[in-house]
Symmetry: C2
Subunit: 221 residues, 2 copies
Amino acid sequence: MQRHFDTELNRLKNSLIKMGSLSEEAVRLSIKALIDNDPALAHRVIKNEDRINTLEIQLDNIIVDILALQQPVAIDLRFILAAQKINNDLERIGDHAVNIAESVISMKSFEDREELIFIPKMAILAEKMLHDSLDSFIHNDPQLGMSVLKHDDTVDELNKNVFYKIIDRMKSSQRTIEMGMHLIRISRNLERIADLATNIAEEVIFITQARIVKHYSDESN
Amino acid sequence: MQRHFDTELNRLKNSLIKMGSLSEEAVRLSIKALIDNDPALAHRVIKNEDRINTLEIQLDNIIVDILALQQPVAIDLRFILAAQKINNDLERIGDHAVNIAESVISMKSFEDREELIFIPKMAILAEKMLHDSLDSFIHNDPQLGMSVLKHDDTVDELNKNVFYKIIDRMKSSQRTIEMGMHLIRISRNLERIADLATNIAEEVIFITQARIVKHYSDESN
């Protein structure tokens, strides 16, 4: 029974790692599509979304099976409940990457590309946060998880700065309004990705330390 | 043991109903603050957020306890896993109500109030969806849950219309840009509340019918 349980737990962990790498790739490609102005790449992100959604449902089913058949307790139970939340967070990260990709596609119709302001900087930070939160999960490393939490405020601040800079640009030049709206949307989606990476890091800390660090930083968008 | 288990399940259900009514009230008051232009009421929504966040953590702890001590299977297990997701959805709905309240407070500094376009209509629909999804949970009524799913596309459509109407208004009158940004933010938050009500309805259907209706409609913002 114990050996079977370990096999099931490993299966769950491996599927979650796969889910993490799919979501991470979606974010990476959507940002690359933005920076390279590459709508074809953005279309690929949208096409790949189905794989993430399918894997999310498979993972949910694995979780129900383990809980029903193995009735785990203590650290294993905590790990499985956290896995359910991380699974959901990763699916939402995939959604946000799709939102970014959609904006990249809409933006191809604008003749002038406006400056991206702090967006590339935000993207680097959000990608790092996501990568580190997944690494902290894989290597069971709450210290790395804690380091993710520290960046969340910086991304929030950059998001606000993008917003106000774009409002100023819209006021001084009306032709930038539509492009500006897309850039604000992209910035907001990056901020949400950073928030979700923070959630994942919090779950890792919860698994290993049984400490609720939620509401350490408030969600904002 | 069975009687104790039933008591625990009821405790979980009652706490979730309380969480639902707090979130519902947050949405209702944030919309009332918008329509009545009442920043004091908006401040109350922000003040009440702590209660929602505290209750979310309490509920998570109840869930861990039940799973660890009672090791439920079948329909009970499914109910408890759905409860965990609904709990998380309700907390996020509370966050979106706070976002709306924050915009209402920022908007008080504008001399002219712009027309709210379809926002009151969206608000009525989103509130109804949330109310019905919670009712479908309380009365274990998947039919009512299914009716919630049907409204999601209408709210998405209204959100898009608000977006384009406001962009047009910004282009024709630059002084509407900042107010317009807040209205777009409010509209987007209502659309997210409707999405989360849809998630809750899906969970209710999952509990009662063991059918995955997820990705019936895609998340968009």
